[in-house]
C-alpha cells in the first residue's frame, strides 16, 4: 500500500530522481558536524513552543488589573502583555514549562550557532567555495540575537523594561539621526504603547521568517556544495566519505532531534528561567539592580559597563555620546569583520583555491590563535556584564572589579594569542598529539635530559594521522593566519575548473555511475590497505561532482 501511495505521488511529482539523490547524500561522520544540528533542532523547539505561547500571549500595552493565584500581584495595574505572561506561568496548563523551554531553547539556539561558527572558523570551513554560506550563517546569528532580545522584552516586566530603556538610549546615541530613529521605531517617546505590539510582530513573524528563509538557503547550499570533511583515509578534495542520508544519518539525526528536545524539556522543567512574577510589571519610574540581558547580549552590556566616559563634544553639545562606541560601533565592527573574514583571509594568504578538506585548528596556528584571542575578548566582555554580581559574591569593591575588567579586556586577548599559538605549534611538532590511544614512554637520560619515545603503533593508531607537510612558501605567504600544513591541493586543476565553469561542480556528471561499483558515482569501494592491517569494511565515497540520476 505504501508502495502504491509512493507510486501515485511519484507519478505526479516525479520525486524519485531528486529523492534518490537526497537519500544517497553523504554525511561525514565527525561529531563536530552535528553542532549545527543543535542549532537547527533548538530552532524547531523554539518554533513549536513559540506557537504554543502565541496562543496565550496578548501583545498589548493596555493597562489592566490582575486578579489571580499569584497573591503579591493581586489587584496590581499592569500591561496586558505582562498579565498574559503571568497567566501563562500560573494559570495555563503547561504554560510555564513551555515558556521556560522556549527561553532555554533560545539560549541554546544562539549558543549552538556560536559554537558552530567557531567550528567552521577554526577548521577553515568558510573558505572558498563556502564564503556565501558563512555570510548567511553570520546573518542568522545577528537575527537570532535580535530576536532573542525582542522575546526577552515582550513580557514587559521590570527587568526587561530596563533593557528596552537601555536599547532606546542606544538608538538615541546615533549621531544626528538617533532621536528621530528611536522615535520612529518606538512610535514616540519611551515607553509608549506601540512598543509591545511592534516587538511582537517582529519577534513572531518577521525575524523567524528571515531566519527560516536563511536556514533554507544555508541547508540548500550545504547540499549543493556538499559537506566538507576532515582529511582522513580515503577522504580527498574530490570526494565525500561518510554515511548516507538513509538509513544511517536519518536515524542519527532523528535521534538527535529528540535528544535536543529532551534536554530543553529537562532544563525547562528543572531550572527556573526569567521568573517575571518576581520582577513585577514594568513602570518607568521603578528600577531594580542587577539587571543584565541574556548572555548573547551580555557582551554588549559588558562593553557598556567597561567603556570609560568619553564623548565627543563640539560647541558645548554632545555630538557622539559614549554609548555609541560600545553599543553601536562595537557590534557593527564585530559583525562586519565576521562577515568579511573569508575575503580578509583570502587577501592575507592569497589562497583563493577551492577547499573541500577541513583543517585542524593546529594546522593554521595564527588563525586559531587570532580566533581564540577574539573569542576571549568577547568572553571577558560577557564577564564584565556581571561586574556587580561578581563583586557581591567575591566580596570585592564594585569599582575594583570594574577597573579589573577594563584592564582584562585588553590583557586577556593579548595573552591568549601567544598561548594559543604556542599550543598549536606544540601540537604540530608532536605527530600524534591529541590521540589518546598511543602511549609515550618518557626516558630520563644519564645526564638528566628527558625524551619521549612513542610506543609501538597498534592497528588503527595511525588512521587519523595527518602527516605534517613542509610549508610551500611560493604558494602561501607566512601571514596572519599562519602556515598551512596540509598538502597543497592541485591548484592547476581547480584553476582550470574555475576558469571553465566558475564553480567546482562544473565537471560533467557521470550518469551511469549510479549503482555501479567503481570509483565514480555512488559506490562502495573496498579498501583494506590503509587500515594498518586492521579488518575494515567498506568505505563509502562519493565524488564531489556526483549529481545523481
Amino acid at each position: 500500500m505504501i508502495d502504491g501511495l509512493y507510486d501515485w505521488i511519484d507519478d505526479r511529482l516525479n520525486i524519485s530522481g531528486g529523492g534518490r539523490k537526497m537519500v544517497n547524500k553523504i554525511f561525514p561522520d565527525h561529531w563536530s558536524f552535528m553542532i549545527g544540528e543543535i542549532a537547527l533542532y533548538s530552532f524547531v523547539v523554539l518554533l513549536a513552543t513559540g506557537v504554543f505561547l502565541t496562543l496565550y500571549f496578548v501583545p498589548s500595552s493596555t493597562d489592566v488589573v490582575y486578579h489571580g493565584p499569584y497573591i503579591p500581584l493581586d489587584g496590581v495595574h499592569m500591561s496586558e502583555a505582562y498579565l498574559s505572561t503571568i497567566n501563562l506561568s500560573f494559570s495555563v496548563r503547561c504554560g510555564l514549562l513551555m515558556r521556560q523551554m522556549h527561553h532555554w531553547a533560545a539560549n541554546i539556539f544562539i549558543g549552538a550557532i556560536v559554537v558552530h561558527m567557531c567550528r567552521v572558523f577554526f577548521t577553515g570551513g568558510f573558505r572558498r567555495p563556502r564564503e556565501l554560506n558563512w555570510i548567511i550563517g553570520i546573518n542568522m546569528l545577528i537575527f537570532a540575537i535580535f530576536n532573542g532580545f525582542l522575546g526577552y522584552s515582550l513580557p514587559d516586566d521590570l527587568v526587561s523594561g530596563t533593557g528596552i530603556r537601555i536599547s532606546y538610549s542606544i538608538l538615541e546615541s546615533l549621531p544626528l539621526v538617533g532621536p528621530y530613529l528611536a522615535n520612529l521605531l518606538f512610535g514616540g517617546a519611551f515607553p509608549g504603547n506601540a512598543l509591545i505590539p511592534r516587538f511582537f510582530i517582529i519577534h513572531v513573524l518577521i525575524l523567524p521568517a528571515l531566519i527560516a528563509g536563511l536556514l533554507g538557503a544555508h541547508l540548500t547550499l550545504l547540499v549543493r556544495q556538499k559537506h566538507t570533511q576532515f582529511k582522513g583515509p580515503g577522504a580527498t578534495e574530490h570526494n565525500v566519505v561518510g554515511a548516507p542520508m538513509w538509513p544511517t544519518f536519518m536515524a542519527k539525526t532523528q535521534g538527535f532531534l529528540f535528544l535536543i528536545a529532551g534536554i530543553t524539556a529537562l532544563l525547562g522543567a528543572a531550572v527556573q528561567i526569567n521568573p517575571i512574577w518576581l520582577y513585577g510589571p514594568y513602570k518607568p519610574y521603578l528600577a531594580t539592580y542587577a539587571v543584565q540581558p541574556d548572555w548573547y547580549m551580555g557582551w554588549l552590556d559588558g562593553a557598556l559597563r567597561v567603556m570609560p566616559h568619553w564623548q565627543t563634544v563640539i560647541g558645548g553639545r554632545v555630538i557622539i555620546p559614549n554609548v555609541f562606541w560600545p553599543a553601536v560601533v562595537l557590534p557593527g565592527v564585530t559583525f562586519t569583520v565576521l562577515m568579511m573574514w573569508p575575503f580578509i583571509e583570502q587577501k592575507i594568504t592569497g589562497d583563493r583555491a577551492d577547499h573541500q578538506l577541513l583543517e585542524r585548528p593546529r594546522d593554521r596556528p595564527k588563525r586559531t590563535a587570532l580566533g581564540a584571542a577574539v573569542l576571549s575578548f568577547y568572553f571577558v566582555l560577557f564577564g564584565a556584564s556581571a561586574t556587580d554580581v561578581l563583586a557581591n559574591y567575591l566580596n570585592v569593591s564594585l569599582n575594583i572589579v570594574l577597573t579589573t575588567f577594563q584592564v582584562l579586556v585588553f590583557v586577556v586577548p593579548l595573552a591568549t594569542y601567544p598561548v594559543a599559538l604556542r599550543i598549536c605549534r606544540e601540537f604540530q611538532a608532536t605527530p600524534g598529539a591529541g590521540k589518546t590511544k598511543r602511549h609515550n614512554i618518557v626516558i630520563r637520560s644519564a645526564d638528566g635530559g628527558y625524551s619521549t619515545v612513542p610506543t609501538e603503533a597498534r592497528p588503527g593508531d595511525t588512521l587519523r594521522e595527518l602527516e605534517p607537510v613542509a610549508l610551500d612558501a611560493s604558494i602561501y605567504l607566512p601571514a596572519l593566519v599562519g602556515s598551512p600544513s596540509y598538502e597543497p591541493v592541485d591548484r592547476a586543476g581547480i584553476g582550470a575548473r574555475a576558469a571553465a565553469g566558475g564553480t567546482y561542480e562544473a565537471v560533467s556528471v557521470d550518469d551511469e555511475a549510479e549503482g555501479a561499483e567503481g570509483d565514480q558515482g555512488l559506490a562502495a569501494a573496498t579498501t583494506g590497505a590503509e587500515g594498518g592491517g586492521r579488518a575494515r569494511s567498506r568505505v563509502f565515497r562519493i565524488p564531489r561532482n556526483y549529481r545523481g540520476g
Binding site: I71, W104, P247, I263, V271, Y296, G515
Partner: protein
C-alpha cells in the same frame, strides 16, 4: 567493550550536567545560617534574667565583654566605634541579630555571619544599651502580618528596596565597596528595624516615607515571598538573573547538547549484518555485534554501509 560505553557515556552526560548544575547553583545560592552558635565564654552570664533590672545587669556584663572595646564602657563611642547612646533598641537589635556585630574584622561594611549570641543575650544587651540613654527607635514588638497586603508590599519593595537589594532580594554590590545584603533569610523584625534605622549605607525611611502599615506590607512580602518565593519552575539559581541563567544555558544547555552530539555524532551502521530497510532494528544493537568495534570507533575510514546495492 561497547556495552560499557553505551552505559557510561549517558551516565557521564548526566553526571557532568548535574555537577555543573550543582556548582552553578551552589555558587549562586546564598547560604545564610541563622542558627545561633553558643559561645562558651558567654554562657555563664546568661543565667539570671528574671527582672528588667536583672536583664540590664546581665546585659551590662555582656556589653562589657563583647562591645565595650570599640563602643566604650558607657556606649559613648570611641575612635573605633560609634556612639550608641540614645540610638534606640531597634538598631542594636538589628546589628546583633544579623551577626554584623560583634565585628570580626574592622572594615567598610560588616558581612552577614552566624550569630554568636543567643536571643536572650541579645535582648539583655539591647536592654542595657537602651537603659543608658532612652530615645531612638525601639525594637518593634507584637508584629502581626495578618492584615498586611502582599501586593502593596511588593509595590513598596520595588519602589524603595529593589534599586539596591535587587527585585529578587538576592542583594548586590554597590559602589565603593558597599553592598546591599541578601534578604533571603531575614525576619519581619529585622525588616522593620532596617527600614526605620537605615543601617550602614541604607537610607533611613521614616513613617512619612513608608507608613507603619506599608512597612508591615514590605515585611510580609520580603519574608513570605522572597524568603520563600513561590518558586515554581524549578531551581531558582539564586535570583541573580540572566547571568546565572546564561552560564547554565551555555555550559549546561549547550554543553550537554555538545556531549550528545559527541555521543551520537560518530555512530554509524557497523558490521555486515545491517541492511537498509530493516526499520525495526535498533542501530545500537548492531554495535555490540561489530567485531572490530572499540579499537577506535571514531575513525572516518570505518564508516561503512551496505546501501550501495540500492
Amino acid at each position: 567493550m561497547p556495552w560499557l560505553r553505551r552505559i557510561l557515556v549517558p551516565l557521564a552526560v548526566v553526571v557532568i550536567a548535574a555537577a555543573l548544575g550543582t556548582f552553578v547553583i551552589g555558587r549562586a545560592r546564598v547560604t545564610a545560617s541563622s542558627t545561633a552558635m553558643q559561645n562558651p565564654g558567654l554562657r555563664l552570664t546568661a543565667a539570671s534574667r528574671l527582672t528588667s533590672r536583672g536583664l540590664i545587669a546581665a546585659g551590662r556584663t555582656l556589653y562589657t565583654q563583647t562591645c565595650s572595646t570599640c563602643h566604650g564602657g558607657d556606649a559613648q563611642g570611641s575612635a573605633l566605634g560609634t556612639d550608641l547612646q540614645g540610638l534606640g533598641g531597634a538598631a542594636v537589635d538589628l546589628w546583633l541579630t544579623t551577626g554584623w556585630m560583634p565585628l570580626r574584622t574592622p572594615g567598610l561594611q560588616p558581612a552577614n555571619k552566624p550569630v554568636n549570641l543567643t536571643t536572650a543575650q541579645i535582648n539583655e544587651i539591647v536592654a542595657y544599651v537602651v537603659s543608658i540613654k532612652p530615645g531612638g527607635v525601639p525594637v518593634p514588638t507584637n508584629i502581626s502580618l495578618k492584615g498586611a497586603s502582599a501586593s502593596e508590599g511588593f509595590y513598596m519593595f520595588s519602589l524603595n528596596c529593589a534599586p539596591c537589594h535587587t527585585i529578587t532580594g538576592a542583594g548586590d554590590a554597590l559602589a565603593e565597596g558597599f553592598r546591599a545584603p541578601s534578604l533571603h533569610s531575614v525576619t519581619p523584625t529585622q525588616v522593620l528595624e532596617a527600614i526605620r534605622t537605615g543601617p550602614s549605607n541604607m537610607p533611613r525611611f521614616g513613617p512619612g516615607d513608608i507608613s507603619p502599615k506599608e512597612a508591615l506590607d514590605v515585611a510580609l512580602y520580603v519574608t513570605k515571598y522572597i524568603k520563600h518565593p513561590a518558586d515554581i519552575g524549578g531551581i531558582g539559581l539564586g535570583g541573580v538573573g540572566p547571568v546565572a541563567e546564561g552560564f547554565v544555558g551555555l555550559f549546561v544547555g549547550v554543553g550537554v547538547c555538545l556531549l550528545a552530539a559527541y555521543w551520537v555524532g560518530d555512530r554509524t551502521a557497523r558490521g555486515d549484518g545491517e541492511a537498509h530497510g530493516e526499520g525495526g532494528e535498533d542501530e545500537s544493537d548492531h554495535e555490540g555485534d561489530a567485531p572490530a568495534a572499540g579499537v577506535d570507533d571514531r575513525s572516518y575510514s570505518e564508516t561503512t554501509s551496505d546501501t550501495a546495492d540500492a
